[in-house]
């Protein structure tokens, strides 16, 4: 299909201190319904959105971390994480959630679509996208 566009969602904010992460997630879920090629990029404090072990039981906030794990089921094909941002925060891929993806028609499966990228790779991915949404 020639009218499939590459959508990139660029996430640069931590998950709970502001509404950006939650809003981004909502827009991704809506956009994914339109059969476009959807990728997410996590840069700067955005990498905190994927840190596992979130417990909001004492905070009166909704824990929306489980929603990220379902993104593969909504057709999100790639979740890229800027390695430099992760390292600056003392984190490694082991600290991040895993998100599985499966193509229902071809039965192609990927165990984890969360992928660390170098800054120049990230720059290229953003450049190659048709649309970039920033949050």
């Amino acid at each position: 299909m020639s009218d499939v566009k590459k959508f990139m969602y660029l996430n640069r904010r931590a998950p709970y201190g502001a509404i950006y992460a939650w809003e981004s997630l909502e827009v991704v879920l809506i956009g994914a319904a339109f059969d476009q090629e959807v990728s997410l990029m996590f840069v700067d404090d955005g990498v905190y959105q994927l840190v596992k072990g979130s417990d909001t039981s004492e905070s009166d906030m909704k824990n929306f971390m489980p929603t990220y794990r379902t993104l593969g089921d909504y057709g999100v094909r790639h979740m890229f994480v800027d390695k430099a941002s992760l390292e600056a925060r003392g984190l490694t891929q082991d600290d991040l959630i895993e998100v599985a993806w499966e193509d229902w028609e071809t039965e192609e499966e990927v165990d984890n679509i969360v992928e660390l990228v170098e800054t120049d790779q990230a720059a290229q991915l953003l450049s190659d996208s048709d649309v970039v949404f920033s949050f």
Binding site: R13, Y16, D44, D45, T56, S59, N63, R89, G90, D95
Partner: protein, 101 residues
């Protein structure tokens, strides 16, 4: 007595923590809340702000630490976790509150 400084922004995004430390006096209490708790984590590029500050006592709000998936053993040595009641105790035991946003 000295003041209580609250910091609610990530040290990677804003200078709030750096400035709260810079403009706070000897004996100040600095309480990290909301995204400010990222400043209490060891092994990050920002940990020097807290480890390099002398004569100040640092606290972090437990519920915000937990919500962000930060394990307690990753906090910088000397940072004390407080709950909401502990927050109130700090407000009560200091001269006044300065919120650094």
């Amino acid at each position: 007595m000295a003041d209580l400084y609250t910091v609610n922004k990530s040290p990677f995004e804003k200078n709030s923590l750096k400035d709260a430390i810079r403009f706070s006096g000897e004996g100040a209490s600095i309480l990290l809340i909301e995204d400010g708790v990222y400043g209490a984590v060891s092994g990050t590029a920002a940990e020097g702000l807290v480890t390099g500050a002398s004569g100040k006592k640092f606290y972090a709000l437990r519920s915000d630490v937990k919500a962000r998936g930060i394990a307690e053993d990753r906090l910088i040595d000397g940072v004390e976790l407080v709950d909401y009641a502990g927050f109130v105790d700090l407000v009560e035991s200091t001269d006044k509150v300065q919120a650094w946003l």
